[in-house]
Symmetry: C2
Subunit: 354 residues, 2 copies
DNA sequence: CTGAAAGCGCTAACAG
DNA sequence: CTGTTAGCGCTTTCAG
């Protein structure tokens, strides 16, 4: 490969291969109706000259931008980065999304948007105009935002909605939060727990409701009551403490608690320690996130593993397939199931020693 | 702001404002020699139409791409994401870099490159040709890679080298690893420690050497010996265990250890626990990274805080300033100092109870 | 199956 | 200070 300081364009390749611009373009884009022998000739020149198409120029010509936007909530994402609480949602998205993009010659750009609906339209419109992405990946709590969805539909941009089960435009992908909550609850029931508390997430996340539903249905299926066993949180540490206090301060306190995310689980763990409630012997605990930290607590927490990387990868694949016209018919919503990883924080309930 | 489904281009703005294309272009790019009244008129139209320049088209016109590439080592980055060990290097880079980019209308794209030099040239050339970034941020262990640097210089692309103190092309930015190691060592010396062990990082990271140097110089300044107190690691957990065993198994075992990164610190902590060596009463421990996890261990670890976000932000600013021609003369290397955060893992040495 | 022409949205260089 | 003229590198027509 010659080391060229100057940019090598499609022209140089065409000249080198002795064909027209157009033929080169066809080869690059794997279009049909080119003789194999031409393809070979062109590709040899491409390799020889070290040619790589300019994304900007491709975009200008009216084709793909080869860019996929991953939309995340600005406030929460930045707060997560700044607090350094170990939430690796963005990393997992990049792991699944960026690598899958790379496989297809696409790039992923992370974009942060305000929840505040006033800004969101302007911001998204700006990002679309500036980048003209081929696809967009929506994440909670924006996955069902009608403003965003309408905008994307209007602009004919493929998109995926992660954490959504609603039919409609765009690919809905879910980790089946309800089922995940059910699995976690069943795990505790199997261990012999009957009073299983649940700390919910905030209402602006649809998945908060699903998780509660899963817990409820598992409890109901086992003939267990849920009265006084639900506490509300907002995914923040402080709210977890409040919820833990409410749950553990009650007369018939639960022998196990499921928290809707890691921070609330950590808060519960800490509150229990302060109160002299030993985990796991006095209280079993499950986190709904398997973020790095929950493996390093004492005890390490049993947790629900959200396959974020896998979902992101799938989302990218669907978007690219749709644009390529190779989209298979997919069942909506696409389910990439969460799993439970059992660690040391869940054991059978001990005889009450209070 | 009108909700236009069709793209609004510079033409529409020009027509709406009753000026030429060029005038609009000048306003967008804040070029001089435009009457304030024209500027006002054009900007009104821009707002009214909700116009946002297309990056692709800007790039085609021969101007900025408004893209900055953040180059990270592929293997290590992916390993970090997959292992979910809580390293938030990429997140912190995004926090500092992406937000600073956004302030200036730029975007940051994370790009992974192979260390293997055979691929690196091809990959980087490809990324440059495809994206035509305005700037590149190099991170260890690539910050002083001559292949990359030459390539960037040839292509006249601004770049910053994070974790480098070497003069030369591109902005060198350092968190002053030597000073950081010195600070950590001094903290231990002040507590009364005399036998302070050090676990180094791998040699392909230049900073590994600096950290050792800082430890050595602080020890020397205090008149303390370092014989038998240095163990080599490779930033991996397993290597930390080996190093801890070497250090703690010796006859005159250290009363304190500084590990060159968090995984090796965690390994040391675990090894100590297994050996019945209590941290901090029998052994003080400092990690060289303040990743999320070290706050959640027992005890939480005293650590050196790498201001990765701040450095990334500075790198972006320098690159943008250089391209804008507003670059101030900067002292090279630019130092963004690390600090030490004291937690529960460091206390004065206890009388030997063995 | 291949080529030639036109234009994507923008900026650089030049005139006025 | 402003407008006009050429492209940038590529893809889409549409002819051969």
């Amino acid at each position: 490969m010659a080391r060229r300081k100057q940019t090598v364009t499609i022209k140089h390749v065409a000249a080198d291969a002795g064909v027209s611009l157009q033929t080169v373009s066809r080869v690059i884009n794997k279009e049909p109706n080119v003789r194999p022998e031409m393809i070979e000739r062109v590709q040899t020149s491409i390799r020889k000259l070290g040619y790589v198409p300019s994304i900007a120029a491709q975009r200008m010509g009216g084709s793909h931008s080869y860019l996929i936007l991953a939309l995340n909530d600005r406030e929460r994402t930045i707060a997560g980065w700044q607090s350094r609480e170990g939430t690796d949602w963005v990393d997992q998205m990049l792991l699944g999304g960026m690598l899958t993009c790379a496989e297809h010659g696409y790039r992923m750009i992370v974009e942060l948007v305000d929840t505040h609906s006033d800004h969101i339209e302007r911001e998204l419109l700006g990002a679309i105009a500036a980048l003209q992405p081929d696809g967009v990946i929506l994440t909670p709590p924006h996955s069902e935002n009608p403003l965003i969805i309408d905008l994307l539909v209007d602009h004919k941009i493929s998109f995926a909605r992660i954490g959504s089960i609603k039919p409609g435009p765009g690919f809905a992908l879910t980790m089946d939060d309800e089922r995940a909550a059910r699995l976690a609850t069943e795990h505790l029931i199997e261990l012999g727990h009957a009073r299983i508390g649940f700390i919910s997430g905030p209402d602006d996340y649809e998945l908060s409701g699903w998780r509660v539903d899963g817990w409820r249905s598992a409890m109901a299926a086992a003939g267990l009551a849920t009265d006084g066993l639900l506490a509300h949180g907002d995914f923040g540490y402080a709210s977890g403490t409040v919820a833990a206090r409410a749950l553990l301060g009650s007369t018939a306190r639960p022998t196990a608690i499921i928290a809707s995310n890691d921070q609330m689980a950590l808060a519960t763990l800490e509150f229990a320690r302060e109160e002299g409630i030993s985990v796991p012997s006095d209280l079993s605990l499950i986190s709904f996130d398997d973020t790095p930290i929950v493996r390093f607590t004492h005890p390490p927490l049993t947790a629900i593993v959200q396959p974020i990387a896998a979902v992101s990868a799938r989302a990218v694949e669907l978007i690219i397939a749709e644009r390529a016209g190779t989209a298979e018919a997919v069942e909506t919503p696409i389910v990439v199931p969460a799993t439970v990883v059992v660690r040391a924080s869940t054991v059978p309930p001990q005889p009450d020693r209070r």
